[in-house]
């Protein structure tokens, strides 16, 4: 029995190591690159011979990257907050209320989510230029919300459906206004869903390249993924590989922090015990 258990555990261990290596190898590669100095950049080693922070110093030297980082953080956070706030309310309505045109609404939002963004870029570019929000934060926040709201509504309405309706009725009879019932009973219970959605939306906004490169033209709203594409080497003949690698590592950090921070709040089984189970 014990031997069989050990083999079983070993097999799982090997599988896990393979999967983790497969997933993390590119990350390690880019991280290694970011610590190499320009002379050894192309030596093909996966472990830098001379460790240097030169690339990091380089990207923080100019406003090109720092400004983009501020744009990225600002735009992604604002989009996430608005999308989650609107999504929570919309998802609640979808999950709980019966109203005319509900199916049409769900269909429409699904349609938007399925639309290939590339086909919308050119019209958006023209529209934004005409109404004057091209190359602004708003100009990116709006399309980000458009594409992340359907996702938010979908995930959240699934969570809301899980919450027993009796809880809300109980709150109402206990003397809560609909707003109080929503705030004091429903939202705390939907919190895991809200955080999950927030993570997904934030990652979507943070990682977007297409809208960022198409709807910005200057540092005023250019986010990091787009800014990296504009990196130049210190001379015309030098590739900015080191800087790109360093920038790539830097923009990974907020995502990791964001996920780690919210992961603790995604506690499964929060609703257990509400009703007979």
């Amino acid at each position: 029995m014990a031997a069989a258990g050990n083999t079983h555990a070993a097999r799982w261990g090997v599988m896990n190591v393979v999967v983790v290596l497969y997933a993390l190898f590119p990350v390690w590669w880019i991280a290694a690159l970011s610590f190499k100095d320009p002379s050894t950049l192309t030596d093909g080693d996966y472990i830098p011979r001379d460790w240097t922070l030169e690339n990091y110093r380089g990207i923080f030297d100019t406003s090109e990257f720092t400004r983009a980082l501020i744009n990225s953080i600002g735009i992604a956070l604002i989009s996430t907050v608005i999308a989650v706030a609107l999504g929570t309310m919309a998802a609640y309505a979808v999950a709980r209320l019966r109203f005319p045109g509900k199916r049409v609404l769900i269909g429409m939002s699904l349609l938007i989510a399925m639309f290939p963004p590339i086909s919308l870029v050119s019209p958006l570019f023209n529209i934004e230029r005409i109404i004057g929000i091209f190359d602004t934060w708003v100009g990116l926040i709006i399309p980000y919300m458009t594409f992340s709201l359907p996702l938010a509504i979908y995930t959240l309405s699934a969570f809301f459906r899980e919450i027993p309706w009796d809880l809300e009725k109980a709150a109402k009879v206990d003397g809560a206004t609909p707003a109080q019932a929503f705030r004091m009973v429903i939202v705390p219970l939907a919190a895991p869903g809200v955080f999950t959605t927030a993570i997904l939306v934030f990652i979507f906004c943070w990682n977007d390249f297409l809208f960022a490169i198409s709807l910005t033209s200057t540092e005023s709203a250019r986010t990091v993924p787009a800014a990296i594409a504009f990196f130049t080497g210190s001379s015309q003949f030098q590739q900015p590989t080191g800087s790109i690698a360093a920038a790539a590592v830097v923009i990974t950090i907020p995502i990791i922090l964001f996920v780690l921070f919210f992961q603790r709040r995604i506690v499964a089984g929060l609703t257990s015990g509400a009703v007979k189970g």
Binding site: K172, V173, D174
Partner: protein, 395 residues
């Protein structure tokens, strides 16, 4: 505390389905009223309308001296206990019970005192800091009760509060609810599909079917004087036996032989133009073992039956036997049979069941002579389901 008055209360859902039709009910201050009926009879909808969780399509609802048709649940000052208990999982027992008071902006010290008191009554003191997830079913049920009583509301509304408990606990909690209601003296409306619960708990019982009130009365009235075949079949366990019979020469010709009717019953049937084909209803205790009958001269038709199954409960013996032609069926009875999966009737619907004294000598497979007490027999019109003997017995 207050009385609750329903006048012609009707609920029609947006899709046109009529859930509750024209309910008239006056619940006195402090009274314990049970709404009972098979699933889908409109009892829960009626309760939800009293709570304010469902809109009232037509009619008037008064709680105390106020018409509350258009008031939100929070303005009606009623407390509700749900079948699922609906405890807030993110709050501990103390917070759950104090929630209504917190919403009412009661000061912290008062909340604490009231919650502590309610916890003492319900024996929850040691669990006050636990979350609902860590409580047993019975404890959760008590927390739900506690959340209702801390508020001292005008009325308690209970929607099948015991149906999620196991049988033994249910009986215990039934007694506890009854005692609690009497000591608090709060008007209570209680919904259940279990006729035993209805009979044991209620001051008065309202039997509903398909959104219509069938009969309102004390448990004894419903048992002895059912207005129609539905109430007769629904109330009582084991259920009433129903047989097809033909009315001829002042007697009911049935598979149990000719059941002679007394003069008053006969006259009453004539007055009401009773049809020739009727259904006769006999409760299990309307039968008596002739061998045990001390009262030899008591008249009543005697039927000899072969015992198929015998169940001894110690105090009583249930004897099951087949009746020629089988039991009578009507739409009402079929509906009850369909619903009886939910009911603990203990009765086999294809057989006649008689409740005999424990001293009976009846044995399985052997014949037994049974006397039918016609004073306890009911005669129903198969077309309308009305109890034709009701006027006679009601006197």
């Amino acid at each position: 505390m207050a009385e609750i008055i329903l006048e012609g209360v009707t609920k029609r859902f947006p899709d046109g389905a009529l859930a509750v039709k024209d309910v008239d009910l006056e619940i006195a201050d402090g009274e314990f009223v049970i709404l009972v009926g098979p699933s889908g009879c409109g009892k829960s909808t009626t309760l939800n309308m009293i709570a304010g969780l469902e809109d009232i399509t037509e009619g008037t609802l008064r709680i105390g001296d106020r018409v509350v048709n258009d008031l939100a649940p929070k303005e009606r000052d009623v407390a509700m206990v749900f079948q699922s208990y609906a405890l807030y999982p993110h709050m501990n027992v103390r917070q759950n019970m104090g929630f209504p008071l917190r919403l009412a902006k009661v000061d912290k010290a008062t909340i604490n005192a009231k919650v502590t008191e309610a916890a003492r009554i319900l024996d929850l003191t040691e669990h006050l800091d636990r979350k609902p997830a860590n409580l047993s079913g019975g404890q959760r049920q008590r927390v739900a009760m506690g959340r209702a009583i801390v508020r001292d509301p005008k009325a308690f509304l209970m929607d099948e509060p015991l149906s999620n408990l196991d049988a033994k606990l249910r009986v215990q909690m039934r007694t506890q609810i009854s005692r609690l209601q009497r000591s608090l003296g709060t008007t209570t409306v209680y919904v259940t599909h279990d006729q035993t619960e209805a009979m044991t708990l209620g001051d008065r019982v309202v039997v509903m079917r398909q959104g219509l009130v069938q009969q309102i009365g004390t448990p004894a009235e419903l048992y002895d004087l059912p207005r129609n075949i539905f109430v007769a079949g629904f109330i009582g366990s084991p259920a009433m036996n129903f047989l097809n019979a033909t009315l001829a020469d002042g007697a009911l010709r049935s598979s149990l032989g000719d059941l002679t009717l007394d003069d008053r019953t006969r006259q009453a049937l004539e007055r009401q133009d009773a049809p020739r084909e009727v259904i006769v209803g006999l409760r299990p205790e309307a039968f008596q073992d002739v061998a045990l009958s001390r009262d030899r001269d008591r008249t009543g038709p005697v039927h000899t039956a072969t015992v198929e199954v015998l169940e001894s409960l110690g105090s009583d013996v249930y004897v099951y036997f087949a009746a020629e032609g089988g039991p009578a069926t009507t739409t009402e009875l079929e509906e009850l049979a369909k619903d009886s999966g939910l009911r603990d009737t203990g009765a086999d619907t294809r057989h006649i069941v008689a409740r005999l004294d424990a001293a009976t000598r009846a044995r399985e497979g052997e014949p037994v002579e049974l006397q039918v007490d016609m004073a306890k027999a009911h005669v129903f019109d198969p077309a309308t389901g009305a109890n034709l003997t009701h006027p006679v017995r009601a006197d």
